[in-house]
Amino acid sequence: MDQHKFDAIRNNAINDLKSVKNLEDFKVLKNKLIGDQSELAKINREIGTLEASQKAVVGQLVSKTKNEIQELLETKFQEINHARENELLSSETVDVTEVVASKNKVITDAGSRHPINSITHLISEIFSRIGYEVAEGPEAESTWFNFDSLNISENHPSRSPSDTFYIDDIDSGIVLRTQTSPVQMRVMLEKKPPIYIISPGKVFRFDELDSTHTPVFHQVEGLAIDKDLTMSDLKGTLDYFATSLFGSDVETRFRPSYFPFTEPSAEIDFKCFVCKGKKIVSSCKVCKGEGWIEWGGCGMVNPNVLLTAGIDPKKYTGFAFGMGIERTLMLRHGVQTMHYLVEADVRFNSRFGLSL
């Protein structure tokens, strides 16, 4: 018996294996190649009849060939199994886009926060990072807190019923607050300096709803009272606020202004973050070619206000600032009209989801 015979057995096995495509054929072939009735088994059974010198040689060849075939079989088995798995998985392939295709365009099916409240919280986080606390106060407020204590004179036009909502009667002494500043007075009366707070909240002014006005809107005001606070500190704080909200390259500027509760008073503008203040006439959607965007009012707390709060203006100075939250949101997110913010249409809110 020679080597060739074994080579032939192995080569035939290789050939036979090639045509095997499934587990059933594989089992049949496996039996044929190494089963009891296989040629190798037959040779093995006949070893006993061989001469002694041949026994060992043939025995070795049989076992070697069998090992080789078994290896081939194992590889084939893996191959078939793998193919089978692949086939199974591929038959289970889905169109993953179905999930999003079933959603309404850009609207999440999940719920949403009102973006006014989301940006309010964002602002509270910005100020928390530089050590400010959040203070809130009542929406229906006494005229003393809303006007008198803030150095707003008896005759100030903002007190007129064409600007301010009065409760019950014009002289009831209770209004819907026109600003969140009464919260500042409440805090100053309650706590000792240093005071660093922001007061966000709803405010009310007698305006009809249009694309930029609403009788009910939101403001965030800040107040800091400490030793040695200056206009430069105020500017730095608002620079930080502006860059935190609108991007690190936003530039701000102060302009003189007038508010009864601050002196000196200023308007804060920031350079348009879209056109970068290049003043491309009327082509910029955000600043309308002005280059600068009016953002809010600010100033050093008027000594009269400090005195009413029981804080010695010789010992302490302070600054305050206030911004419209609607306006800030509209600028930051390109909200086209105030109507969207008050109509409660879920298509608007859900664009923003849980965060801005």
């Binding site: 150095n151 002494g173 500027r253």
Partner: protein, 813 residues
């Protein structure tokens, strides 16, 4: 306030050319926002003065048409014209072919009405210099035929609309703006008050007195023999037009012109309609006056009037009276110029709703040292252009002392963080007309007669900063360097809202205003409703006592805009009258009120509870599902509230209740002890009708403050790791049996071994009798310290069956 640039720049003398951009930028830096920049009467091309030589009336047309021969200097042209307010030899303004009028209106030669028309005779409206379209513009002044009309009419001038801050009344004039600009442009200010004219002696005919504390000065200049056909010189007409003020007659135009120039409002009376001594006094009760706008006004004692011996002739500082108006034919006039109390004029102007140019200036304060000069200057111009003789002046003055502020110049560094030398500070003050004396940093600053806004240190610091430059302030970020206390309720609200939103709800914000019918929606507070004195809409005069009305309307809006399933909620305050409604009054300012007053102030405002309420309708969509899987039912809102509360570690009890606006049989109340934390359930069908909704709507109302009160630090659980045994048991009950009570009852059998009891099926219908229901419970048994033996399980099972059957007259299925 509209002013042409060239008017105020006439008073800013600089040896360099100052361009328009720099002027606008300077005004902005000084705190005067330039709201618009307009070109007054923008005309290009040949616009000339022409003389009408011949008028030929073309009568064959529907309306009379004139064919005019006009001398335009170097030639004669024929022009067709529809207007008829001019005669031969009149001087008119001719737009010749090639000229372009405002609004890109191009003039060319054309054939019309059978004639060749070589240009256009212009009206004031066509040149956009006034709204007057009564006819074409006839030039009454001497003018050279063929000369450029643009210059004569002041066209192509740039007019700025400057916004003046309410405390800066002194800047509401050419004088004020010019003075401000001079400081920042380093130019010399030419004061229009300094114009010289002949002295005026004391009047023999006019007498005046002040009998109120609300006026301090008045000057009356009497002029006689005024020629009432006199014409206001064109340069004055042009400027008034540029400022948007209508030209009326020479006396009225002059009073307006000098008010604009010097900021002192003036009034002209017809002297022949005034009897006896002129007086400034408070109005008498039931006194009336018909003002120039033909409105009869009822006055009260707070109003200030100028009166003669018989009647009020002017609502002082606000508007003149019709009974003393200067009219066509007036010969003798009295020019009045006074100083009134700012607050008094402001109040009268607001009470009578007359925001006149005069009242705006008086309210903000005028220069108390120039009123007589302005009256005299006006009289002089009336003499110059109206041939009037100046009879004399009458005046009454109460001395006004110039205010002084003791100012420590270190205050500037203290408030601004900017270091300036004293010399610089003093220089800035003097450029503003503030005179300083004193040594070192201690200055005494004399406040000029026009600056009513400068009261204290801080005001002076603002002035220095303004002239030095607000835009130059460099920011320094200041961290509080103190421990930040968390605002627990602010964070909690945010948290709970995020939670509800994560459950698929959309947060909305509604107005707190509501109608009478909306009040019906609420079960509580109906007797403590707050009404607004001045609501935006008469139909919604109340403040909300429930968030539901706003939500119903918002839901309706969403459904009508095509949504099928909507889940919305709002977090906000409601407003309830407080029991203690005494608002403390007359609280002294500039010192801390005592704590009793502060506490009464805080108590006097309405009670304003904070609620979170929501509505849901339609189907719920499981995450990732293609279809709306399940119609929402009454269980959904209850489960939602239960989850929101339980997730915070609060063990809440729930029971059936009746509460508006819920269905009386489908409403749950959430309680801890006797504290109500919220409600949830199905909305009453009546509400669905009332708000035009359809189908079923579900809702909830949560009291976050109450929930927050129940929260404490969560303790970690201890649990068994031995195997669990599950036993399912179904019973038939009477329909009235409460599921939760069965659960409690089962749990109570052996709280050590029974780990949980869950209702997993509710069944009513065939093979059950009417009035019966089947409830199936899944009971999990587990011991802390061992694996349960079969006998133990059997024992508990038997105990459950026996107890439930007995306690609830139930029957095991």
């Amino acid at each position: 306030m509209k002013l042409p640039i060239n008017w105020f720049m006439q008073h800013v003398k600089s040896n360099r050319l100052i361009k328009q951009d720099e002027i606008i930028e300077s005004l902005t830096k000084l705190g005067f926002e330039v709201e618009t920049v307009e070109i007054y009467g923008q005309v290009t091309g040949p616009l000339v003065i022409g003389k009408v030589l011949k008028i030929e009336i073309l009568s064959e047309f529907k309306k009379p048409i004139r064919y005019c021969t006009v001398d335009v200097g170097n030639r004669k042209v024929g022009i067709v014209c529809g207007a008829s307010n001019f005669v031969e030899n009149d001087l008119v303004v001719v737009a010749l072919p090639g000229s372009v009028l405002p609004g890109e209106f191009k003039i060319s030669e054309r054939e019309t009405y059978g004639k060749k028309s070589q240009g256009m005779i212009c009206s004031a409206k066509e040149l956009r210099i006034s709204e007057d379209h009564s006819g074409i513009l006839v030039i009454k002044e001497k003018a050279k035929i063929g000369s450029d009309a643009k210059k004569l009419l002041g066209l192509n001038e740039t007019v700025l609309d400057i916004s003046v801050l309410p405390d800066r009344g002194y800047a509401m004039s050419v004088r004020g703006i010019a003075r401000e600009l001079s400081t920042i442009l380093n130019a010399k200010f030419i004061d229009p008050v300094d114009e010289k004219f002949p002295k005026i002696k004391k009047s023999k005919k006019t007498k005046v007195k002040i009998s109120t504390k609300n006026a301090s000065k008045i000057a009356l200049v009497r002029v006689e023999g005024y020629q009432s056909e006199s014409i206001t010189p064109l340069f004055i007409q042009n400027r008034l037009n540029q400022c948007g003020i209508r030209t009326i007659s020479l006396p009225v135009d002059l009073t307006n012109y000098f008010m604009l120039e010097m900021g002192q409002p003036l009034h002209a009376f017809d002297a022949d309609k005034v009897d006896g001594i002129i007086e400034i006094r408070q109005s008498r009760q039931n006194e009336t006056i018909e003002t120039l706008d033909h409105v009869v006004r009822k006055l009260n004692e707070k109003d200030l009037v100028i009166a003669d011996s018989k009647k009020a002739i002017s609502l002082a500082g606000v508007m003149g009276g019709l009974n003393s108006e200067v009219v066509d034919g007036t010969k003798n006039l009295i020019i009045e110029s006074a100083i009134f109390d700012q607050n008094s004029i402001g109040a009268t102007s607001r009470n009578h709703k007359i925001p006149s140019e005069a009242s705006k200036r008086f309210e903000r304060g005028t220069d108390y040292e120039i009123n007589h000069l302005v009256a005299m200057k006006t009289a002089f111009y009336l003499h110059k252009y109206g041939q009037a003789k100046i009879e004399g002046i009458a005046a009454s003055n109460r001395e006004i002392k110039k205010r002084k502020i003791n100012f420590d110049s270190r205050q500037f560094l203290r408030l601004t963080g900017i270091s300036l030398k004293e010399k610089e500070i003093i220089k800035i003050f003097s450029s503003l007309g503030l005179l300083c004396s004193g040594k070192g940093s201690k200055l005494t600053v004399k406040i000029p007669s026009w600056r009513h806004d400068l009261i204290n240190d801080a005001d002076l610091v603002e002035e220095i900063l303004r002239i030095w430059g607000y835009h130059k302030i460099k920011g320094v970020l200041k961290n509080s360097n103190k421990k930040v206390e968390k605002n627990v309720f602010f964070e909690f609200k945010n948290n709970i809202c995020n939670n509800i939103s994560s459950l698929g709800a959309n947060e909305v914000l509604n107005y707190p205003f509501c109608a009478q019918s909306d009040l019906e929606v609420s079960d509580r507070h109906q007797n403590s409703v707050i009404k607004l004195f001045n609501p935006i809409s008469e139909t919604e005069p109340y403040l909300r006592i429930s968030l539901f009305p706003g939500l119903f309307k918002a839901l309706e809006r969403n459904l009508s805009r095509g949504q099928d399933s909507v889940s919305i909620y709002e977090a906000g305050h409601i407003f309830v009258k407080s029991a203690n409604n005494e608002v403390p009054t007359n609280i002294a300012l500039l010192k801390k009120p005592d704590s009793k007053i502060i506490s009464n102030l805080k108590k006097s405002i309405p009670h304003q509870p904070y609620l979170i309420s929501g509505l849901i309708t339609g189907n719920i969509k499981r995450l990732g599902s293609l279809k709306n899987d399940d119609a929402i039912d009454w269980r959904y809102p209850i489960a939602l509230v239960d989850q929101v509360i339980s997730e915070r570690g609060v063990e809440v009890n729930i029971e059936n209740t009746e509460y508006k606006p819920f269905h009386p049989g489908r409403c749950a109340v959430f309680k801890v002890g006797n504290e109500v934390l919220g409600y949830a359930g199905e909305i009453h069908p009546k509400m669905i009708d009332q708000y035009g909704l359809k189908g079923k709507v579900f809702g909830y109302e949560i009291y976050p403050e109450m929930v927050l009160n129940q929260i404490s630090i969560k303790q970690a659980p201890v649990f068994s790791t031995f195997p669990v045994v599950k036993e399912d048991l179904a019973f038939i009950f009477d329909k009235s049996v409460i599921a939760k009570e069965v659960v409690f009852s089962i749990k109570a059998i052996d709280s050590d071994l029974i780990e949980s009891v869950n209702l997993f099926d509710v069944y009513e219908g065939s093979n059950l009798e009417k009035g019966q229901k089947s409830l199936a419970f899944s009971v999990r048994l587990r011991a802390q310290d061992r694996t349960l033996k079969t006998e133990e399980v059997q024992q508990v099972r038997a105990a459950i069956i026996s107890r439930v059957e007995k306690e609830f007259q139930a029957q095991l299925r």
